[in-house]
Amino acid sequence: MKHASIVKIKLIFSFATVFAVAAGCSAVEDNPDEGVSSGASAGTLSGVLAGGGASSQTAAQEAWRAGFQAANLDVTVDYDPTGSGTGRTNFADGGYAFAGTDAPFTAAEAAGSFATCASGSGLVEIPAYISPIAVAFNLDGVDSLRLDAVVIADIFAGRLTSWNDPAIAALNPGANLPDTAITPVHRSDKSGTTENFTDYLVQTAPTAWTFAAAEAWPAELKGEAAEKTQGVRQTIAATAGAIGYLDASQASGLGTAELKVGDGYVAYSPEAAAAAVGKSSLEAGRAAFDVVVDIDRTLSDGDVYPLVLVSYLVACERYADPAAGSLAKAYLEYVISAEGQQAAAEHAGSAPITADPALAPKAAAAVAAIA
């Protein structure tokens, strides 16, 4: 009998442990401080602002979150780097209060309805992150190469297969080019980086590059496929003779190409990327607060780096949930402020849009329109 009672005590003890854990689970569920619904009260913001989308913005978003949360201690901002397409879909379906995307909604899509927004509300799109895309390679003893769009198109289309090809040597007199085979590396996932890279080739080498500008790499082309920016970086770093394109902030340690612009060659830099955006015009046929840049990659000025990515933030003019609206407005105000843009420039190597006298006021006006 004594035996049985000891067993019983131990059983009770072990079940009690399980229930204590279960009770712990349910106890924390009652915490009322979390959730968008708790919203803003006089002057101080609190709650959770959830957004997501373009992975190109991840490092910049990290800087923005840190700066914004330091100023608003009761606010938590989350950003899922799920990719531009997922970000736009989740924003349209009501999953995100704001989205980051390398490819803005088309004018027709922007005129539609979004579950996140109040019915009849317009769309706010602002360029928030301007970053050069580097053409990076792994070639023993070579740190920098000069390439033009036609040669890049030929390399990625598989027509140039060796690094000592006369077409490459002609652009790099005096460079010691080995006869290593060229391995082009591209993104396996849909990517805004791929879209901007192919758009550059379409605009500047239309005869050599016969494919469309798209987020997905042309399936008929050979080469190494790698996932996301880090995958591309690793594949290039591990493969002798590899060449690929990736966000310039992640290209340190790899050889990078200077691109032919007009008669000269330009290395990537935030300033040259900002110049490419500054000299382009805004896309026509957009609503007042739908600020989309139509990048002109055929500029021939010597200070322009045309292979540039502009990533957007998407929000609503009026939100279905006013609490989310006030949080989104405050966050976007911080993002496009001089402070926010400077934080991103330091941490992610982007070009501050505040340096652009045409773009910055338009973006500020769009954010001010969020109610």
Binding site: C25, V28, A59, R65, D78, H347
Partner: protein, 358 residues
Amino acid sequence: MSTQAPAPDQMSLSTSALLPTPAAAPDQTSAPAFAFAQVAMSASSHVPAHAAASPGGRVFPALTGARPAWRRRFANRFAAIVAAAGCLAALIPLGFLLAAVVSRGAARFDLAFITQTMRGVIGAGGGALHAIVGTVFITAATICFSVPLGLAAAIYLVEYGRGKLARTVTFLVDVMTGIPSIVAGLFAYALLSLLLGPGVRSGLAGALALSLLMTPVVIRASEEMLRLVPDDLREAACALGVGKHRVITQVILPTALSGLVSAVMLGVARIVGETAPLLLVAGFTDSMNLNLADGRMATLPVYIYSQWQNKGLDAAAYDNRAWTAALLLIGFVLILNLLARLAGRLFAPGAKRHARAS
């Protein structure tokens, strides 16, 4: 109980028929296989039973005549070397992995790493407290879901299940064991998206997805443990007039408890390193979230993934954090396993008898 092997009836019948007295078989142990070997040998060679049981067994011409002693020794030595080499080959990658994780994780293995979150951190610094807490919370919630369900299913299969239904359940459990983790994550995501709207993220959803992976492991492992409980115990309890529910709760479960704890630990080890489903449904955040039911919750595997995948300009800081988090995750599994062994020892049926005797 422990001195007599629970051999099938026929076997013990033939044993007793061949052996003149129980005393003539001095080596009769509790291993049924050995008893069977004795029976088979004595039946085929027609030698006296006491000789058959003698150690060395040189009286068998079938064993010694065909193979010379040197060959037997050689085969013995060869098999031992192959087994040892196989063991070594399995340990080498493990050793390299541990060495790599420890050496690279050491850089950030400091107090700040386990006391700070990533909130407000740009570049270097920060920690993984929020991810550690998230992993503990989500694992605990998964145990809340999986253990009662898995244990109940195992008890049904062992004690009640007969015929078509039991076979179907066993088959489905086997199928579920093979579900890829990403499918479990997609299921949980789809289910919660339908119920709560798109883009939903919560720790509870993560626990739901992980339960899908953990429950079949718990069922299979605890089913085996419950089957190990000797039938004699059940029969003895029934003979005393004890109801079936009390036999299960007071005889079978306590007897198998240490094995059941191991079964649960197997399940936990299966899910604690899962990344894909948590990435989908629990999401990632820089900040501490103590609310399982609402909002993103960081976990160690997802923390490792996001640190590696989303680096800023200072890439080394991100890599170091990822390695240290990997080290912590391995340590977490190690601690859980040690706790399980401790629990197994505490709850083992023999433990209290020894404790009372001493």
